[in-house]
Symmetry: C2
Subunit: 421 residues, 2 copies
């Protein structure tokens, strides 16, 4: 199909061109009708005066797909300074049912559940569409930043023989007659691959059978995972993550045109015990509550002019068994979270790297060794000190765009109640 | 950890440096011992004469992880013209069990099942490692080529409410008490997203419950999917795919240093009926057998000097219900396969785009409409003529490297018998 895009019209003034797209809006005035056609890049205004064409237009509804052959005319009043006149309209796909909601207003008035039920339609709205563009740009930036830092992209199994992060919140499936699970993270595999490439990353789906409906949780989300070997401790991991975030934000600004927060060359970091003091929580709290995270976000902005804050040294008892303890304070870990505007969007840290340490950690946790054998096998054959992180893409994008619910920035969310479309 | 890589040694002659990596090999001669250390970039030779260091080395085994502080000395006999002398060796992670196979020989002598059982170790071998680097480069090239052609990256659900490609070969799972399935392809979602971005792509896992063990099938593989709107027919899709393949091959050559076949600006294409004639098959054969594909691969090389060949116009009765028929010959489709060295590595084509056509196609196929409602909903609201393709990444890489089995180029394959590691 020989067509030009809406953004190319201005360079074709006086010529006959073909455009194609969706009927975004029709304005049927007495003496003239305006047809606004939307394509991937923007809108075009088509002026209709000829009675037969107007009659066709009156019968069509919004979102029908049309091809328009017309002359490009300069008109300072038209959007972009050009419009199309004398059109011949060909209908590629006619909409024959009422739309469940209108798409041409600045905001979608339909409720989120209605939008999600008709996701293929709702995502055409500029606000919903833009969120997906931001997600795509963030992912591109993630890969570029890591490739530049010598990380190699990997693909890992999403069907696993034993649950990894914990026995709870895992989807069970029938694998050729045997029980199997959907991977809650690529954790074990990315660690094994440190033995191969030293530094690896993966941007892929992970699965959590979250039993409750919250604005922050999805049953499937995109995890931006990285893992790196030959680190001294978690601070090397945080430095690589900070660099990565900074490239991600620059890519979002450039490719998606969204305003992004500045990423300081050194993002402020507070130890968990200090974080409790800052928010006024008792010193024996084992974890940070959402309200604590929000208070820390405000503190970081006030004290350090940073929208990002690392919290390091979470208590070992609240971190997974593969977490490396702080050698100086073994009750605390070399694990960290990254808060963005008061919400945890990244979890990371240094991991155990010696086989003996894994065996001891699993025994301490009261876990049987057997389900972990394939995983532990890799640690028998020489693994360097290493660590990594996982960024929750949808959380990051939601926070970046000020969306209250991660479902607003996910194309086809999966949750307790949603399995379609 | 302050270290330099093996490839940086030559610029540090005369200086004391720290390297780190795996013990690739030890050669314990009478008066001197050589330690070969492997890191992400290559090998370093360490010369050991000091008795205490030699004693340490004798106790260590291959694949132990060490850090070596030593002086860089020029030596024309050493690999890369440099070696490390006067080393102080620190063990980061000692291997205390015998390795199941040796890694320092040009080929892995262990059987494929043994390699796969110890995948974390086997993948450290240069041959296995290189296959994954080629896969990463091909994926990077895929994304770059499509981004350049205005495609937007998307993430789609891997858990679906109804099976898509067919009822067979689908993994069933328990989704909060309801039955659900692992997506066999992002087909429906990428089509819906054509309504949003016109052109989209996704590189992600897909799942097939293949009931048989073949060298070409995996239960999970990486599908490089693209879909584009406003096409005239399948030939526009083939042109975009040809361009994409050409960038993928160039990226593999550049980033992974692997020899790649040339991709002609126009890859030869034969119609299905012509393909049957070429291989001497009866004119009423409904599909091409693997032997036919091999014969066509030889024919394309001989007649067109091309290792790639498009076969177009497969009979409608062998293609999925969303396939667009050839308007001139409705028993044949606007679908195509791409053969690479006689193996099908891509399936693609033009799809139906009108709601009425989907309803008619499903009714003809004897399928109930109800499971497809969420999918079909998108076609009620205006979809342009469109088409796309899916490349099987592991098949492409196996064919490129001459690997007989896709498992040789997959990090942690999943099949009828394999769920770990």
């Amino acid at each position: 199909m020989q067509r030009i895009l809406s953004t190319q019209l201005a360079t074709h003034v006086g010529r006959t061109v073909t455009i194609a797209g969706w009927i975004h809006r029709r304005r049927l005035l007495k003496s003239v009708a305006f047809l606004i056609v939307r394509d991937a890049e923007g809108l075009s205004q088509v002026v209709v005066t000829e009675p037969a064409t107007r009659a066709l237009l009156e019968e069509l509804t919004e979102e029908s797909v049309v091809q328009v052959e017309a002359t490009v005319s300069a008109n300072a009043q038209a959007p972009g300074g050009v419009e199309l006149t004398g059109p011949a309209i060909r209908v590629l796909s006619a909409v024959r049912v009422p739309l469940p909601f209108e798409l041409h207003r600045p905001a979608l008035s339909a409720s989120l559940p209605t939008q999600l039920a008709h996701a293929g339609l709702a995502l055409r709205h500029p606000v919903r569409r833009q969120a997906l563009k931001v997600a795509a740009a963030a992912t591109t930036g993630f890969r570029a930043a890591l490739t530049e830092q010598r990380f190699v992209e990997i693909q890992t199994p999403k069907i696993v023989g034993s649950s990894t992060e914990s026995g709870a919140n895992v989807f069970r499936l029938d694998y050729f007659g045997r029980p199997a699970y959907l991977a809650q993270s690529p954790q074990f595999y990315k660690q094994l691959m440190v033995g191969v490439f030293e530094r690896v990353f993966e941007a892929g789906p992970v699965f959590r059978a979250e039993p409750s409906d919250t604005v922050r949780h999805l049953a499937q989300y995109t995890s931006l995972d990285a893992e790196m070997g030959f680190v001294t401790d978690h601070r090397d991991v945080m430095a690589a993550l900070t660099r990565t975030l900074s490239v991600m934000m620059a890519t979002v600004a450039e490719s998606a045109g969204t305003a992004v927060p500045k990423v300081l060359a050194e993002i402020p970091a507070v130890h968990f015990t200090e974080a409790l003091r800052i928010v006024g929580a008792p010193a024996d709290e084992p974890d940070l509550a959402p309200a604590h995270e929000r208070a820390l976000g405000e503190w970081a902005l006030r004290e350090h002019d940073s929208e990002f804050l690392y919290v390091t040294g979470y208590p070992m008892r609240k971190r997974p068994f593969y977490t490396h303890p702080d050698p100086a304070l073994p009750a605390y870990s070399n694990g960290f979270d990254l808060l963005f505007r008061g919400l945890e969007i990244v979890t990371g840290g240094q991991r155990l790297h010696r086989y003996e340490d894994y065996v001891a950690a699993l025994q301490r946790a009261g876990e049987p060794l057997e389900p972990y054998e394939g995983y532990l096998d890799g640690f028998r054959y020489g693994m360097p000190p290493h660590g990594g992180w996982a960024i929750g893409l949808e959380r990051l994008v939601a926070r970046l765009l000020g969306a209250a619910n991660v479902r607003e920035v996910t194309a086809f969310p999966r949750d307790l109640n949603r399995l379609t479309p």
